[in-house]
Symmetry: C2
Subunit: 328 residues, 2 copies
């Protein structure tokens, strides 16, 4: 499954988001000359799935559940424990620590609405059930939420349902809240929209290097990644990882060391890097990518300029109030 877009649905989603992006940027004068079509601005709004529209009541409920540690076996782990909204949606740990120690580094929750390759609703349910994450069965999750006094909030969020406090609706609310966690208007987005002053000269050089060196071949689209899977065996070869990637799920020999290409939005804020969080510094991550994925040594000056460019992918984070959680 190396180097290809996962599903037709994913393509459709990405195209849909491009459409939104275009609408939101009617004031755009001109896309900078020479900028590859592989780059797209991050949309400034999200299109909800028709089966789970994000009403204010549902988003508010999802915000509460996102911060509520009672949704984990120990009552110590909330979604925010690993996907810390104060820290760009990550925990800055090597690997995730929830109810157990996860196998991989926590990816940011910000902009997952634009991933296209996953269902946030289904992924949320997987997180709640996973032994390393929240470690609750669906029945236990519903009990926890009910015992905490959430019923009125589910009734408000799902007003047409006679029995609104369900495992599916826990996931629906959290997914609806997650869709509000987007970080548009990064300097690179303003540059794509025609504001030539949004990037520094060094960042423009870094962008050209990122494009011409071939990074954008995989790190493309509005997230600069996230849609493709590709082989990345460098860490294994160096003895730094024993993670077989997609092979661990599929059992297909071709899937050995195949990983999802990481989205690069806000990458300057989401250290440590790679699937096992083994690399602490962004310049070292770029250095390794050059050797391992592009097959050549990137000069130190070029690495520095590319890191400058990657800093231009830091967007505007939404203000999130710490919710007041119900108490039984």
């Amino acid at each position: 499954m190396s180097g290809r877009i996962l599903t037709p649905m994913a393509i459709a989603s990405v195209l849909l988001f491009f459409g939104v992006s275009s609408c939101a940027e009617q004031q755009t004068t001109q896309r900078p000359e020479g900028l590859s079509d592989l780059f797209q601005a991050l949309p400034t709004s999200v299109v909800d799935p028709p089966e789970n529209p994000g009403t204010p009541e549902k988003i508010e409920l999802g915000r509460m559940l996102f911060f509520d540690a009672r949704l984990s076996r120990s009552k110590l782990t909330s979604c925010n424990t690993c996907h810390d909204l104060t820290q760009a949606g990550v925990d800055h740990l090597t690997r995730s620590i929830g109810e157990g120690i996860g196998q991989r580094n926590t990816p940011s929750v910000f902009n997952t609405a634009f991933l296209g390759t996953i269902s946030l609703e289904e992924t949320t349910k997987e997180f709640l059930r996973s032994h390393e994450e929240m470690d609750l069965t669906g029945v236990e999750a519903v009990e926890r939420v009910s015992d905490a006094g959430y019923l009125p909030y589910f009734t408000a969020a799902f007003p047409t349902e006679s029995d609104p406090l369900t495992f599916n609706n826990i996931a629906n609310a959290i997914a609806a809240f997650s869709r509000t966690l987007i970080t548009p208007n990064a300097p690179f987005d303003r540059y794509i929209a025609g504001d030539m002053s949004a990037l520094s000269d060094r960042q423009k050089i870094g962008l050209t290097l990122f494009q011409d060196n071939g990074c954008a071949g995989c790190h493309s689209g509005p997230l600069l990644g996230g849609t493709l899977y590709t082989k990345f065996s460098h860490l294994q070869e160096k003895g730094m990882s024993h993670d077989f990637g997609a092979y661990q799920v599929s059992g297909e020999p071709d899937d050995q060391f195949v990983f999802r290409v990481s989205p690069l939005r806000n990458v300057a804020l989401t250290a440590p890097y790679f699937h096992n969080g083994s690399i602490l510094e962004l310049d070292e991550a770029v250095r390794i990518m050059g050797k391992a994925q592009l097959g050549f040594t990137i000069s130190e000056q070029d690495i520095s300029d590319m890191v400058d460019f990657l800093n231009a992918l830091t967007g505007e984070f939404p203000v999130v109030e710490a919710p007041k959680l119900p108490s039984k």
Copy 2:
């Protein structure tokens, strides 16, 4: 040390707060007839200690540090882990779990500005150093904060200091933020200020019982507790606790099973109860207090009315935004 106010400073602090309270309530028409002088409204503002005034920059820095788990050995525990601002400043666990398992139930961080008996600055440093809480030395705490990129925030918060990033200033900032965590204007405060409709009839009966049964003898002042220490040996006698209280610190036989009288502000939101968190329900806590501390069985109807009154101690919580933390 049973049954007396701790220090002359504590008395001075309490008197000072009463002064503030009076100023803030000039619109008060009349204190309800028959209401004991033991009850005082929660002040609507805090008087900062002169050596640590709460400037906006310092409070903002303190808010960031309060939410930053990098201020603990594992990088998993923040102040907010146990003193969860979304959950009335507690974790709803039996005993606190930070870097280790604490000996006691987490008291709320809200309204600790009015305790008078502790220095928030010194207490914060104890928390940072404690093996069960954050488990960092002062030097390690400064390193963590420096590595995380906090220097500009310390420079802004302590502009007259040439070396602002110190262990003392970490504590000063967190303490300054903690002083913003107050919950005034509970129904009981409005009642004290003369609004007779602020309490229901049942709550007024509960208040009279609370006063006449003698609860207010210890649970007095603006926090309805927090200033006295007294003997509470019931849990030990029932085999539910092996905690010797103040004796564990002083070694004085008279201090066996002597504990601080819990403040009752927001008590309806801070289950479980007592120093070891062994009691899950507020009515059971009142039932035990009657038998163990007052020496008689409170009728079930009276317990119900007193619990209604205790619900009138829930104040207005400040809105706290989840801060955006620096990233190195």
